[in-house]
Amino acid sequence: MYDVIIIGAGVIGCAVAREMSRYSDRVLILEKNEDVCTGTTKANSAIIHSGYDAKNGTLKAKFNVKGNRMMDRIAYELDVPFERIGSLTVYTEEEQLVKLKELYQRGMNNGVEGLRILSRAETEALEPNISDKVKGALYAPTAGIICPFKLCYAYAENACENGARFLMNQKVGNIFRSEDGLWHIATETDEFVAQAVVNAAGVYSDELNNLVSSRKIRITPRRGDYLLLDRAAKGHVRHTVFQMPTALGKGVLVTPTVHGNTIIGPTAVDMIDKENTATTAEALSEILSKSSDSIKDLPTRQVITSFAGIRAVEDQHDFILGEAEGASSFFNCAGIQSPGLSAAPAIGEYTAGLIREKLSLSEKENFNPYRKDILDPSALSLEERNELIRENPAYGRIVCRCESISEGEIIDAIRRTPGAVSLDGVKRRVRAGMGRCQGGFCSPKVMEILARERGCALEEVNKSSEGSYIVRGRTKDGENG
């Protein structure tokens, strides 16, 4: 029996897991896909919002600002790259200034620090490539950028380090409470029992809530398409640059990533299918044309990939946190859309705090808050790097040439708990295949390493989830050889 079962291993589920592992050795995380970080966490803007945008008094406002303040400590403890580069919300029409001032006031009320309204000249000084239409901006120096994958993996690994258990490929089918007050969670293959449950199921969090709670909620999956530019475009944009919403719709953002790429997006398209992450031609061209309203001369020839993510939009447009109505010890982390990534540390802490209280748990003496990231050899000196290669020659073999990723880093990504089991899992952990050739050269080699490390055939290596096989069967010569 578990103290708590967390459903969903996105950044929210993993943050709750890590915070719960402070208090309990009996924490289980169930994930329907093959790996952690496969839903909304894997496809978003990769930014930490300052917190001026959410309406005063909402959970979004409260947890965004709090999460933002916690991020330096979390990034330090978990060894995750995080940079407070600041955001600029630019306006292009004089009448938008009123709205911009409202946003400023809203941010002040939310407790956002350092907000300032900048003139055109001040904006240009910070961001030389803003478009000629820009008249000024709301500057939020506390906004930042982070690698959402790394934050999620770091939370998951640190939770494991502290005794939490992750089970993948476990899709929850039913949840019910037995007479003794314990929660039973049935998946396709198993049944698990716990004193408390956390619903961190992303776009499916309405379905889980509605199984047990008297207060029904509804989540609409909202698709956001993005374009990613090669690192060759690095430096063109220095801050996260937002646009003001206009009569024609919400604008797009342009932001650097912690890895030196540039992200443009997202669109906002309400969907019916919660798994529909297909991009569309209209959406991709919409992003490109809108981006020029805030940033000029974006080197759009440097696009190396496009993708779409799904965010969970609840009807009330706020996070749903805490114990569900009519379902004691069932805790919701539902409707977590933007600024969910920014709020994750605060949501994790808050939810774990509620459970701790409910189950009367106390802090473990041996809780280790620190986690070391996968070693990045490029950060080492020549001598240190040579020492590393002497100890482990795999660090001397570059597998991904675009991102200069060695076999040593890939093996580390696979051997961690929870470790990479697919090409995408390796890619998100160490960036092999994330560069300008998008895995053209390294994917056969990474497949080979995955097969070797996992003791499986090459045919069993997947790109991502079950069914995403890459090769099927041998060639005529392959069969004979």
Partner: protein
């Protein structure tokens, strides 16, 4: 820090040929750095024939062609390091490289020859909408999986782009028992060699759909189908022309990009057209003592021409190392590509430094029938060659004579262009 006269970055066809010619020009201090586990580069996975007709006057497979050059390198005792990745080259030609045996190490080179080859444009760079499932391969990656690893990448295949690797893979997959449904090409002409269209598509009844592209990809985990539509003259899909093709693999052969990240970080000037270094008659980049050849310079169709070009780079690198490249103040003649000619390699000439003849390679931007390739020395037309067909997929060349250039005093521009008559 070890030192070599010439360090060659890349042990593919360009690097091998450059090494052999540098040796044969008298240099004995040569090192080839190769990132893969064997010499030969991409030729190792090109198991079809058609290589060497110009160089060896016989038809070889890719591995056979590579073996000839590897043999020449071994015979000469030229040093090479495998599994070695070059991480950085400084403008003063200190090469930082790494492998698992030597760790990270520095080499001082008197001359560097860039021969890193090219890469394929990935799906992301093509902005094809739809899901991102497994089963989408760049044609070269599929070629590696099939020819080197011995695994099938699909049984029902659609190919987007009619580059040579895509055409070759259409035949290869067919021979392996797969059904290749079609090759869709965005442009109104193929990007590949005519002979490959005939031998790889026509001979197997595989349709080539010109002015068509993929507008949707279905399948969340693994590719299930693609939708192909015809495009208008602005390459925009025409509504109502969509047709769905079920498939379990989509191969992309939509262009090759010279791999110049190393060149760029050392400050070598690149051409916006070729994405390769801007070079002079000696195939020297705008950084002294740094030369470039093969697909890193501009994408070739035939390995024979890569070898020939690299031979030249090897020779001039030796001239440079031994101080025999004249560093006079001579003004360089500009080579200008215009009216249908997209670029020329080289793009400038110092007549004093050139050999008796200079091969100028170029590509055209469209299909031209019964046209002329003309060369002008300033305003005077000096070459006027009739060509039955000129196509973007086929590299062309003209040969300039030193004597002719010398006889034109004050010559500032040589122009290569296409003319109707």
């Amino acid at each position: 820090m070890t030192a070599y006269d010439i360090v060659i970055i890349g042990g593919g066809p360009a690097g091998l040929s450059a090494a052999v010619s540098a040796y044969d020009s008298g240099c004995r201090s040569i090192l080839i750095l190769e990132r893969d586990a064997e010499l030969g580069g991409i030729l190792n996975q090109c198991i079809h024939s058609g290589f060497g007709l110009h160089t060896f006057k016989e038809e070889l497979t890719g591995p056979e062609y590579a073996a000839r050059y590897i043999g020449m390198v071994l015979e000469r005792g030229i040093e090479y390091k495998l599994n070695t990745m070059v991480m950085d080259i400084s403008p003063d030609r200190v090469v930082t490289a790494m492998n698992s045996e030597d760790g990270m190490f520095l080499i001082k080179a008197k001359a560097v020859i860039l021969a890193m080859g090219c890469r394929e444009r990935p799906r992301g760079a093509l902005n094809i909408p739809g899901y991102r499932p497994a089963g989408i391969f760049s044609a070269g990656t599929a070629q590696r999986l099939v020819n080197i690893e011995g695994y099938m990448v699909g049984k029902e295949v659609v190919i987007l782009g009619s580059g040579d690797i895509g055409l070759i893979m259409a035949r290869r997959m067919t021979l392996e028992g797969a059904k290749v449904k079609c090759v869709a090409e965005l442009m109104p002409y193929s990007g590949g060699l005519k002979r490959n269209i005939v031998q790889c598509l026509d001979d197997y009844g595989i349709p080539l759909l010109l002015s068509h592209t993929v507008v949707d990809i279905e399948g969340k985990e693994h590719i299930k189908a693609v939708t192909i539509a015809e495009v208008d003259e602005n390459r925009r899909p025409i509504e109502g022309t969509e047709r769905r093709y079920t498939c379990d693999a989509l191969l992309l052969s939509c262009g090759l990009v010279p791999e110049n990240e190393l060149s760029q970080s050392m400050g070598v000037g690149l051409s916006k057209v070729t994405n390769g270094p801007v070079v002079n008659e000696s195939l020297e980049t705008d950084i002294e003592g740094v030369f470039a050849c093969g697909n890193v310079l501009h994408v070739h169709d035939l390995v024979d021409f890569v070898s020939e070009e690299a031979k030249k780079a090897g020779e001039t690198a030796v001239k440079y190392v031994s101080g025999r490249i004249e560093r006079s103040d001579e003004t360089e003649i500009e080579l200008r590509a215009t009216f249908g000619v997209r670029y020329t390699v080289p793009s400038k000439i110092a007549v004093g430094r050139m050999d008796d003849t200079l091969t100028v390679r170029f590509r055209v931007g469209d299909v031209y029938k019964d046209s002329f390739v003309s060369v002008y020395f300033d305003d005077e037309r000096v070459i006027h060659q009739k060509k039955r067909v000129l196509a973007p997929g086929e590299m062309e060349q003209v040969v300039l004579k030193k004597a002719n250039l010398l006889s034109r005093e004050g010559l500032s521009t040589v122009t290569v262009r296409i003319e109707g008559e």
